[in-house]
């Protein structure tokens, strides 16, 4: 403490210096976002953390202004959203930015997660950093789900019904939990009201966890495509201006695509049933979640066979049954829970898939499995589609629970470069 007090902050501006001597916020910003030594070999995959952070801010800003014109009551919610679209100044723009913002936020985060998987970003000493990231992902899913309920459309109401009903699979307390979630005997006004409150609250919780995520990142330092930690000054560059400018460039490209969708195809990712008011007596022909939930939805529906535990007939009539519903629910949540344990499932000392040929292929297969699951999740769960979903589900779990532990033991990895600098020079040589 004494040392930092004596050290004169080098700021020229007297106002900044006055503030910094009392609350060293400028020193902190300079340390974490100016001088912060960053591996010099980032590729564009390293843009997506910053992009996701910008999307989070954008969602909060548009969301706060939308909330000023929105009414969280079952009899008025749908109309208030239509009013935002037609009558509120720039309401249409706020809403299209917000609803498509959710899509692009998830695009950024999925790429960010893939980056982490491919380059082994979750490995020691970044386990907690990774866990906080998975937590952010979970919070995002909850927030997105509740946000989707707010227009109180057919898709909103029935999406809420189906997803809250998942909890009824919990043995003994299931129905009580579902009633508690609803605040009544069915999905209704109390449900909408609390979902609005939580949809407004959770983004700020996400901001808090993002803060911890970034804090943890700045303790361990950023990873990099070679997976080798920086050793000398030759391996790093200061964050500013090198990565502020690279992030800005990547963000600009990302924003181009996002804005193109917002202004030229704002409903490209929407479902027609999302534009009809909720009718609790009529279920739409097919309930399809938003694309970013589809892989997990497909996992949920991949389980269709009850399992009766043998020799339990004496306990209850027909024996104790492990219902297909409960299996699906456990698998769906398990698909995310397993990510929390990834740092301990993968014991390979080599981080980057660049130097892990077999793991690299498994990673591509995982992407294929996710795409297949996503496709199957949008189709009726029957026939070939159901088998595709089952196969992809099997791969998903085998990837994390079987392949990764086996690979970390038996895979023959390629020789690692001695340093980031060496890896960069070698890449350059090969390019010439």
């Amino acid at each position: 403490m004494a040392a930092s007090k004596q050290k004169k902050s080098g700021f020229q501006n007297p106002v900044i210096r006055w503030i910094d001597d009392r609350l060293p916020i400028f020193t902190m910003m300079d340390k974490e976002y100016g001088a912060y030594p960053t591996p010099k070999n980032f590729n564009y995959f390293w843009n997506f953390g910053a992009i996701a952070m910008v999307m989070l801010v954008l969602m909060i800003v548009t969301g706060v202004f939308l909330a000023m014109s929105y009414t969280p009551h079952t009899s008025m919610a749908f109309d208030s959203v239509e009013r935002i679209m037609r009558d509120v100044n720039y309401g249409w723009m706020l809403r299209y930015l917000h609803m498509n913002g959710a899509h692009f936020f998830f695009i950024a985060v999925y790429i960010h997660i893939f980056r982490g998987l491919y380059y082994g970003s979750y490995k020691r000493p970044r386990e907690l950093l990774w866990i906080l990231g998975v937590l952010i992902f979970l919070l995002m899913m909850a927030t997105a789900f509740m946000g989707y309920s707010l227009p109180w459309s057919q898709m909103s109401g029935w999406g809420v019904t189906v997803i809250t009903n998942l909890f009824s699979a919990i043995p003994f307390f299931g129905d009580a939990i579902v009633t508690w979630l609803w605040g009544g005997p069915s999905v209704g006004n109390p449900t909408l009201n609390r979902f609005f409150a939580l949809h407004y609250l959770l983004p700020f919780v996400i901001v808090g966890v993002v803060f911890l995520h970034v804090w943890a990142l700045h303790v361990s330092g950023s990873g990099n495509p070679s997976g080798v930690e920086p050793k000398t000054k030759k391996d790093t560059v200061p964050f500013h201006p090198y990565y502020t400018i690279k992030d800005t460039f990547g963000l600009t490209v990302f924003m181009f695509v996002y804005m193109a969708v917002v202004f030229f195809a704002p409903l490209a990712l929407s479902h027609a049933d999302h534009f009809q008011p909720f009718d609790p007596l009529v279920t739409p022909e097919q309930i399809v979640p938003e694309w970013y939930f589809l892989p997990f939805y497909a996992i949920l529906r991949a389980f269709t066979m009850d399992i009766v535990f043998p020799f339990t007939g004496w306990i209850t009539d027909g024996g104790i049954v492990f219902t297909a519903k409960l299996q699906g629910v456990i698998a769906m949540f398990g698909a995310i829970i397993v990510l929390f344990f990834l740092p301990w499932l993968d014991k390979s000392p080599v981080r980057s898939a660049r130097y892990r040929p077999a793991y690299r292929w498994c990673n591509y297969l995982l992407v294929v499995a996710m795409v297949l699951l996503g496709y199957a999740g949008a189709q009726p769960a029957e026939g070939t589609m159901l088998w595709i979903a089952r196969g992809a589900t099997a791969y998903y779990f085998a990837h994390f629970l079987v392949l990764i532990p086996l690979l970390s033991r038996y895979e023959k990895t390629l020789p690692l470069p001695k340093s980031i600098n060496e890896a960069v020079l070698k890449d350059k040589e090969e390019a010439q």
Partner: protein, 179 residues
């Protein structure tokens, strides 16, 4: 300096810390109760519990859908064939949740069930003419493909239970009170 006396004070300090910690935990737990319970159904929500329905205009073979507690209730005026089929299937091997038809109706011609699929809460189709009724001529849930028979019993698909029978009472031959 480390003496017996030090150890004793440590123990007393530990005991106090533990007690204070435990009291704090109990206090926080107690404070959670009203917060969590406030999310349970409110008194006025619970009060909207019964409806009376005039069933005189429901023809044989027709199903009327009424709303009770925000949920649809199917009132099905069953044909003699449907009643026969339902009773004949009492011991069918594909009953997921075995129950005789007689336990599910007060009068065989009137089947009254909550029209919410026991899988994930969708409304099964088959109440209106032209809608798919599934392989067992009752209802078919479009969400995940559960089939219900003419007694509202689960026969095929992912749902774990039969369509539940709500509490109801025939006030007269033409009026039924649900709830």
């Amino acid at each position: 300096m480390a003496s017996k006396k030090d150890d004793e004070t440590q123990t007393r300090r530990d005991f106090l810390n533990l007690t204070v910690g435990a009291m704090g935990a109990v206090g926080i737990g107690a404070a959670m109760v009203p917060l969590v319970d406030s999310m349970n159904p409110a008194a006025d929500t619970l009060a909207l519990a019964t409806i009376e329905v005039d069933i005189s205009e429901i023809e044989v073979g027709q199903t009327r859908v009424v709303q009770w507690q925000g949920k649809p209730v199917f009132i099905k005026h069953r044909t003699p064939e449907e009643i026969e089929q339902a009773q004949a299937d009492d011991n069918a091997p594909n009953l997921t949740d075995p129950e005789p038809d007689s336990a599910r109706v007060q009068k065989p011609e009137w089947l009254i069930v909550v029209g919410v699929c026991t899988h994930l809460g969708c409304i099964p189709q088959g109440s209106k003419t032209g809608q798919p009724r599934g392989d067992f001529e009752g209802w078919f849930c479009p969400c995940h493909g559960s089939h219900y028979d003419t007694s509202g019993r689960m026969r095929a698909g992912p749902a774990p239970k039969n369509l539940p029978v709500p509490p109801y009472e025939f006030l007269s031959d033409t009026v039924v009170r649900i709830g």
